[in-house]
Subunit: 248 residues, 2 copies
DNA sequence: GACAATTGTCCTATATACTGGACATATATC
DNA sequence: GATATATGTCCAGTATATAGGACAATTGTC
């Protein structure tokens, strides 16, 4: 197999593991010969793409990736604006705020600012989650027909972490509601005591390229929830406008 | 040439360019065959390591790198602590604050928070600069002997952006002073009107693994400068202590 | 202290990834 | 509209990168 593909696999394995791995373990998870793995890892270490951790015995992502990601943020206008909106929304509400988007057929958090409230964070930046698990998941596919949605979302993704299965027709109806309201919220999906509020960021064609989310405690005082919602909508609309200006 | 090495070169070329490039231009700068370049770029695009920019005609860093860098920050304790110190120092002083370290034989900024003052930022995250251009550059080599320093710093790095050449003996004397004072400052090196204050972050062996820096206007009110310095030193010492605890 | 499992390095043969060129389109220049 | 330059795709031969195993050194376990 090609070295480049092996490297890309290797990085994905580390991302999924979310912690430093020993090289032997890496080779096992990659189904790659140990000699090849050593060769590639040493090349990546020399480039700073990987670094050794914990007494040199394990490897994980390195400083060079931090540099490249900084370039990405400088060059990618929407991502930069979204990060600022997430920071401002968190500062304005004190609640955990996120910007999310599709990665292939999954939901991923791109930016997150953690608020005062102490939730167990179930989603981390870049971790792929099934679309039906999240409020944003409804908005992110709301440009598709019901058939397209069911073809797009893998069968097994309709099963929640708790084992309960979401009905496919129900999901499609929720997507339609999300499109109608430019908004969707879920209670107790990520966390029993959390409500997740999501609004879309739409491109000039009206497709939701991302979502602004706010995570707060369930059954909060309606006035306060209303204020949060206003700020959230304003945030999403600013980003949608910025996106259209760029396109137009 | 090996695909993996080509990919690493390709990423470095984009990092140096600091803007999206056309594929043809990429191939030229890499001295790589166009067919190979197309192949690699398409592979990297599919993986999200690269993305297309500006009407699909150019490529630059992609979202996946942002994810991996987020993993790096989660896993790398010192980098995470340093980022927080930079944020706090900037918040506490209102001045541009940085955490810097060696990358091979060059100076690089790892974290930066821009203050109120409007300097033209000459250094960006991950951009390699000659050590003699910076205050931190003195501290980062202060565990070396004069001979080691002169062997370590490339000849041409002693020439400043304005063309003036720094005397090598003077530089070594400045390094010695930096070691003695646990501090170094430069005036007008990056910017005519800026003073750069730097303190070391030392590991258990006393080697400066990084520097906290504060960039401020020259000839500032001595009291204010003194307050900045106190905060800067406190920051550096907290990081040094955190590093020793980890090691010890 | 013997045993087992892992780490890191080195080697050779062969499958294959890379090169270099040709080609059709597209885009810019005069 | 003719010329020049760039883009994106495809192909076949060969240089070479990868697989796979052997080896010594290290580490952990009972």
């Amino acid at each position: 197999m090609r070295g480049v593909d092996r490297v890309l696999q290797l990085l994905e394995v580390l991302h999924t593991a979310r912690e430093p791995l020993r090289i032997g373990e890496l080779a096992r998870r990659l189904n790659a010969p140990r000699s090849t793995t050593y060769d590639l890892v040493n090349t990546l270490l020399a480039a700073g793409i990987l670094e050794t951790y914990e007494e040199e015995s394990r490897v994980f992502f390195g400083r060079t990736l931090h540099f490249y990601a900084s370039d990405y943020m400088n060059g990618h206008r929407l991502s930069r604006l979204a990060r600022k909106e997430v920071q401002d929304l968190c500062a304005g509400t004190g609640q955990t705020s996120q910007y999310c988007a599709l990665t292939r057929d999954k939901f991923t958090v791109l930016h997150m600012e953690t608020g005062n409230a102490m939730f167990k964070i179930s989603s981390d930046i870049g971790i792929a989650l099934p679309l039906p698990w999240t409020a944003s998941g409804r908005l992110l596919v709301d440009h598709m027909t019901a058939d397209e949605i069911l073809a797009f979302v893998p069968e097994e993704d309709f099963i929640l972490p708790n084992g309960h299965r979401i009905d496919r027709a129900t999901f499609c109806a929720e997507v339609a509601a999300a499109r109608r309201d430019d908004f969707f919220s879920t209670k107790g999906l990520v966390d029993d005591f959390a409500e997740c509020l999501a609004v879309p960021v739409r491109d000039a064609a009206g497709v939701a390229v991302g979502c602004m989310c706010l995570i707060t405690v369930r059954d909060r005082d309606p006035d306060e929830r209303g204020r949060y919602l206003d700020q959230l909508h304003a945030s999403g609309e600013r980003l949608s406008r910025a996106l259209s200006i760029k396109a137009g």
